[in-house]
Symmetry: C2
Subunit: 332 residues, 2 copies
């Protein structure tokens, strides 16, 4: 099935079919109707490859996620699928680790498939990656950390507000002794979350001493190691804020091991949650970063750039999902 068959069936020229299929205003409404009807009857959809070839626009956006095991990203991919398709784009999913071969392969796919723009949703893109991406000169949007180059824009997550929501919730429950388990602070996303936590704590008049901040490993090990350090001190805070959901899951895990009951003995709160927060025991109170919001912001920034060459910085809000891992502080 191709444009010629449709043209023939609708008794018009291929150009008219092309124009009708692209909703050009210049085509006679009655004829356009006829073309659409014929196209539907023949199950005709324009060949994307041909379209891309002649127009120079592939209508393809790349979404780059970390090659790390984290259920948040399946939700992100789905959100992207949703949003991109709605905007008339197809998506190319690429996962990268900080490994030059993987990075090269990713760049190869972007080049060969003529991806028009890339959303880098790794939260902490490594320089090895961003450098190569800059070389390709493809418009890109980054979450959290945006390297500076032409065509690079950013989606910022409102961590300040997120940390505020978390601390307001804890403060309202009566917590004053709150620890923060952070991922490695060399990672910009971890650093911003810590800064946001500090700021929010100050706002709510909560003292945060150096001993309340635990810098730890990435991902789940952060939570395990972080909780361990807290346990080793012999005196737990009444609440623990974790830099990520996986971190919180790790903390939950380690606390269970130590027979510390959550939330009775200590409240735990996560960040950037996914479906996982529902599956833990107890289920996890968490500051959610909505995948759909992230996808929308990224696609919107990308489309804006593709259409008007104007970089824009998009912001994404967070919202607090209160589940069962937080409650009033234990009696002293």
């Amino acid at each position: 099935m191709n444009i010629r068959a449709v043209a023939q069936a609708a008794r018009v020229s291929v150009s008219t079919v092309s124009r009708a299929m692209n909703y050009k205003p210049t085509v006679n409404p009655a004829i356009a109707q006829r073309v659409w009807k014929t196209a539907r009857e023949l199950n005709y959809l324009p060949n994307q490859q041909a379209r891309a070839l002649v127009s120079g626009h592939s209508r393809l956006i790349g979404i780059v996620i970390p090659e790390r095991t984290d259920p948040f990203f399946i939700e992100l991919i789905r959100a992207f699928e949703e949003v991109a398709i709605d905007s008339g784009f197809e998506i190319l999913v690429a996962s990268v680790s900080n490994d030059s071969e993987r990075i090269a392969r990713c760049m190869g796919r972007i080049t060969a498939s003529h991806v028009e723009a890339v959303a880098v949703m790794t939260f902490d893109a490594e320089e090895a990656f961003t450098d190569r991406l800059r070389d390709l000169a493809v418009p890109a949007v980054f979450v959290d950390t945006a390297p500076e180059f032409a065509g690079a824009t950013a989606v910022r997550i409102d961590y300040d507000n997120g940390a505020g929501q978390a601390l307001q919730h804890l403060a309202a429950l009566g917590h004053r002794d709150i620890a923060f388990i952070s991922g490695p602070l060399r990672l910009p996303s971890a650093a911003s979350r810590l800064i946001a936590f500090r700021k929010a704590a100050q706002e709510f008049g909560i003292h945060v001493g150096a001993e309340q901040i635990i810098e730890s490993d990435p991902a789940m090990r952060a939570g395990i190691a972080g909780a361990e350090k807290l346990l080793a001190r012999g005196r737990l805070p009444t609440a623990i804020v974790c830099s990520s959901e996986t971190c919180a899951i790790g903390a939950l895990y380690r606390l269970s091991q130590a027979c510390i009951r959550v939330p009775d003995n200590v409240s735990v709160i996560g960040f950037d949650g996914s479906c996982m927060g529902d599956m833990t025991f107890p289920s996890l109170t968490s500051v959610q970063v909505p995948p759909l919001g992230l996808a929308r912001a990224a696609v919107s920034a990308l489309c804006g750039f593709l259409e008007r060459r104007s970089p824009s910085i998009e912001r994404v809000g967070t919202h607090l999902v209160v589940r069962q891992s937080t409650t009033v502080p234990r009696a002293r």
Copy 2:
């Protein structure tokens, strides 16, 4: 950058470049070298859209996953990415629910992008979906349940062996009283797992009465509701085999709520595990269905069909990952 520029720079014709880039054996090795070198220097990669257009092969395979929240699928996508790229294919990720609009959108993407073949990794493809896919006449491979139509092949998971591994492990620990929490039995994948469980139980001489089989809801609710039914009886088995990992997580959740200690009071074992099994407390002993194996089998079936038009049935083995949710039966 295009083939002409490379041809010019390498002082050969475009056809020679084309042949060299496609590793045709007819091209003079010295010249091929020169072409490759030039291509590398110019960062040339053949335009996939042009290639697809002229050759009639898009080198695109679709991977269809359920629009359900399950971390297993992020691992599957990654495995597909790996395997497909290695075989020279690009992947198009599509998630579907049993909703005619979503299905139509998915079919539209497959058609417009001229996807050559589709791997349906939903485990339980609905008829509404398979019917539409058959209409498209695109070669397809299904996990677990394959509708019969030309070009449809199957990847079968060796549940018999999987269930055998689970029961051997439990039997070796001394369990004789083992319950099975199943998903809805109208779903073929749930049904096959139950059959495999029964068969394996018989093999190990373990009696399975009707009261040991709990048919339940899908996903995590299965485990919650299933564990609840078991708890309501007042007498727990010594071990529970769950039809899926999410089901097992649900069971773990409900048991924790009831202050039943796993594995001290009851052992729990999952099926089709993902990274999640590591994150639960206790971590989950599980019969894993390796995503890479699944992806390899699917891509291999698809490639086989595309090259030789010969449908093949691929088999994927399972392996038991022993973690902390299983131990010897409690003292009576």
